[in-house]
């Protein structure tokens, strides 16, 4: 396998209408690392993922992804962003993961179809191929999205609240899958809310509350003191905020 991708953030600021969502972040997601991004609502967790994918442009500083082209990045957005009633078969949804190989025009032949079925099997959805996406429960829908991720076979995987609103059994199964990806040397970043799962399963953590609070091995980051500090974030941004004059690092 080729070298695992890494991401370097240098004094990174990402904002919406000039109000920063991620403020002066510097650090590195190491090659092959598995990092949880944790923090209160409005802390900029999703924005950081969008910045890495290139959906949000930095207002200041840089994000540099090495070892992965844009098409080597798999990004799982928050579920709320998708129309769960879309008239599409589960098979078609998973098969979108083949995009890098099929593009918009090439045929999906028997061999590729076999891969799609295997991916659905791996997430426990075999037999659901011809069901419509709209008939799936929240957890099943999330599994179908994971089948799509499997097929993308990406070197860098970004997950935005992948286990929100799904039951513990499904979450465990999917977390197992993500663990296997980690074992294969892929670089993984996941926005998570479940502190317990983070402490148990994720080696690295970035705790963020608009400004970075702590970044490193999970056991050193997820201390009571750090978590208390992250909760001090005032969720609503200050409408009369003054210009940030912190000098660039």
């Amino acid at each position: 396998m080729t070298a695992s991708p890494s991401i370097h953030c240098r004094d990174l600021t990402l904002s919406y209408r000039r109000h920063p969502a991620v403020h002066h972040l510097t650090g590195t997601f190491a090659p092959g690392s598995f990092t949880a991004i944790v923090g209160p609502n409005g802390a900029g967790k999703s924005t950081l993922l969008k910045g890495i994918v290139g959906l949000v442009r930095p207002d200041g500083g840089t994000i540099e992804v090495t070892g992965a082209r844009r098409s080597d990045i798999a990004y799982l957005p928050q579920q709320a962003a998708l129309d769960r009633g879309f008239p599409m078969r589960v098979l078609d949804l998973a098969a979108m993961g083949l995009w890098r190989r099929t593009g918009p025009f090439r045929r999906i032949g028997a061999a590729l179809l076999g891969e799609v079925e295997a991916a659905l099997d791996a997430v426990g959805l075999s037999g659901f191929e011809d069901r419509m996406v709209g008939s799936l429960s929240g957890g099943q829908f999330q599994r179908a999205l994971f089948a799509r991720l499997l097929l993308q076979d990406a070197r860098l995987i970004l997950l935005d609240e992948p286990f929100a609103a799904i039951d513990a059994r499904t979450a465990d199964a999917l977390l197992g899958l993500v663990g296997r990806w980690h074992g294969e040397g892929r670089t993984i970043i996941a926005v998570l809310h479940d502190f317990h799962a983070v402490r148990q399963h994720i080696p690295e953590t970035l705790l963020i509350a608009r400004d970075p609070i702590a970044w490193g091995p999970t056991s050193e980051v997820m201390t009571e003191a750090n978590i208390a500090r992250s909760r001090g974030l005032d969720e609503a941004f200050d409408t009369d905020a003054e210009l940030c004059e912190r000098p660039a690092a």
Partner: protein
Amino acid sequence: MTTFNLLVAPFLEFGFMRRALIGCLALSLSGAPIGVFLVLRRMSLMGDVMSHAILPGAAVGFLLSGFSLFAMTLGGVVAGLAVALAAGFISRTTPLKEDASFASFYLVSLGLGVLIVSLKGSNVDLLHVLFGNVLALDDPAIYLIASIATVTFLAFAVVYRLLVAECFDPGFLRSVGGAGGAVHFLFLVLVVLNLVGGFNALGTLMVVGLIILPAASSRFWSESIGGQIIAAALIAVVSSYVGLVVSYHVAVPTSPAIILTAGAIHALSLLLGRHGSFLRQMLRAQHLRG
């Protein structure tokens, strides 16, 4: 009156009825995929906005060169695209919500269009532009509609997978480097082309009905996109045919007859359709075992 006299004779007897039928059938077929994707993208009202938006463009064409198919078509396409892009730009860059931004544009367009037509023409001209005259389609108009239908079909065949992906998960498409923005723009172009093609036959205000009503009804008959497109095409074809026959025998204006037929089929779909209709919901009251 025999069935033959009722359903077939008008088309054998009169060339204008045959032309009207051919024009409406071409519009029905190419409007079907357009409508289904407009509904899927929650852009049903966008169709309405764009149909109003082509009005001032077509009116300028009319002002400059009278009832010239070329001038009015070109004006309509330019104005329609300009408004679609401007409305999208404003809703993306200002706090104004998309629907409010679209509504402002179409109200202004309507006012502007009516004003420009009345500068030169009479009320009859205005009625023609607003509500069309399907019984007066000439050869160039029919060729235009048929060409637009052909282009629409070819374009959908080429970009279908891109369009579905862009519709369901635009973020995903962008992340795999698919040309989401280009596909969206191509789709807008197709919408405007179909509206402009249709406006000669049904008028700027009525043509949207033949595109949106069958698509909105199709959701009750099929769960897949392909099935919905076929259902929408069938509904549009039936509406066109029945509308023409009714308007011939009862002597009522044609475009409203076609749109009201589509409306009646929509009501039937709501009540009796196979998926999610009132009838289905009543039948489902008794739950299954597993």
